[in-house]
Symmetry: C2
Subunit: 307 residues, 2 copies
């Protein structure tokens, strides 16, 4: 087991509107958030993504300064970067997509750099299942751990390929609505069982402000949602989560349920920072000391003595 992490995902421009304000085009995309989260760990992390020629070099420099390997990121001349614009409602749990411009994403043919073909950890961010599969197929051997995310768009329209992918991963990390959509069942316990039966040994169901559930065999672990006074911008929370999750596992001697539990807490802690500022700001500024302190907050939050 090496500690190389290969990440597939989007690099994007986002324009966000929340009850607290709105942004112009800012840095976004799941590979960006995942990479920034992983950069807290001493693992080698390579991103596979594509951007247009309008993608600012300062953003590439930022990611490189965090130690991320961008040899798998294509900058395509004459094309524009993937753009997403969304508006969050007062409860911050629901959002409306205002605009999606796929742009360069329609030309994306992910190529795994030679150096990362033996990565022990492969993290397939939320993207077309065909591309997620294409990356898996380029690996020299079966990675130690394959983690995937997805969303309603792919569940609706790419079901066959998505199902094929799900059979090939170890961990699926999705939100409650996605779990219900995939399985057609309301109970998250039942939904997790159905997804486990499809292949993944570990199922993570994220519940936004209500925390996350980790399912493994008959076992369940619950990471609480850290009660925050202000949730500024939920964008990237799920990506920060899996980034922190895999980042931790890449540092472990072996992958056990105990380590998965801690990884779920670490991912939740990472996400709790992300939502406290617009875009990637909080992740960019995050220190390991702050992260450790917050993990302790999660422990204190649920700890009680049996009497």
């Amino acid at each position: 087991m090496n500690n190389k992490i290969l990440v597939l995902g989007t690099m994007a421009y986002d324009a966000l509107e929340t009850p607290f304000g709105k942004t112009g085009k800012i840095l976004g995309g799941c590979a960006t958030y995942i990479g920034l989260a992983v950069s807290q760990f001493k693992s080698e992390c390579g991103l596979i993504s594509i951007v247009g020629d309008d993608f600012k070099n300062i953003y590439l420099d930022l990611l490189e300064s965090k130690g991320l390997d961008l040899s798998g990121v294509i900058k395509m001349e004459g094309e524009k970067t993937f753009f997403w614009s969304g508006k969050y409602h007062n409860d911050m749990n629901s959002r409306t997509t205002l605009d999606t411009q796929l742009n360069v994403l329609t030309k994306f043919n992910p190529i795994v750099p030679e150096y990362f073909k033996d990565s022990s950890f492969v993290l397939l961010g939320n993207l077309d299942p065909n591309l997620q599969l294409a990356v898996l197929e380029q690996m020299n051997n079966r990675p130690e751990l394959v983690v995937m995310d997805t969303m309603n768009f792919w569940i609706d329209g790419y079901r066959d390929k998505l199902d094929e992918l799900i059979t090939k991963v170890d961990v699926i990390s999705i939100n409650d609505e996605e779990a219900r959509q995939i399985t057609g069942t309301h109970s998250l316990v039942e939904a997790a069982k159905k997804i486990q039966a499809m292949g993944p040994k570990y199922v993570v169901i994220k519940k936004g402000e209500h925390g996350a559930l980790l399912f493994y065999g008959e076992k369940i672990f619950c990471a609480p949602g850290l009660p925050l006074e202000v949730v500024f911008d939920p964008t990237g929370a799920g990506d920060s989560f899996i980034g922190g999750f895999v980042g931790h596992l890449s540092q472990c001697d072996e992958i056990s349920f105990e380590e998965m539990k801690f990884a779920t807490i670490l991912g939740s802690a990472m996400a709790s920072f992300t939502v406290q500022e617009f875009g990637t700001q909080a992740l960019e500024d995050l220190t390991l000391k702050e992260l450790k302190s917050r993990i302790n907050d999660f422990k204190v939050l649920t700890e009680f003595k049996l009497v």
Copy 2:
């Protein structure tokens, strides 16, 4: 500090419809659920309530067989028992009231039995704040702990009296929507602060399947929602919660945040049984051994090692 618990609340007939089936008129009411939950503890518990002459003696016998004191329960001739009928939707978090017949409830003038006027614990179930205040005023001295519940109906239409009551209690136990409605704020952390500023030292915010939060000063404790494969009927979950909550505290030498945390878990465990069967069935059958085992499930659910 004695271990007498005085409970004010409704005793009712409920007719329930859930995705799993529907019932005829069955035993309901918050005092009923609270009493059954409290009956797990070796405390003296007196109920204050009112029923019509249609209220079956077998229900009164049931409650007495559980050791509950019914000297404060009036059976009024020529009147009908309070009736509520509701339908739960597929997600089990939302419900529609189909019918409410206040009946005998409109004549309710609660009288605290002499023996319970020195109760250390007073539990004011969800009811008209005027009646909740009337019970408090009949106590010989300030009880050690006053706990209250309420609901949207009283928040909407009885705000002055409700606010007066809130200043006089130690613990308020409400759900997330009620906390938001009382304070006009979405963030539960902010809402809890605003309610604490009104008087209550402890604020419990219940989040249904997502667990409960306990606020005390700057401290927060999170009781997870136990992931259940089937939620059969959510009726009485909140009442079972406060019954278990106060039941535990009545057994403590002193009331501390540590004990409050455990009480929150115990209440959550109690509620988790209630929702697994229709009406009061699960609470009626519950054994102390099952309860202890489930409390352990809550511990296992959130326990992780810091690495």
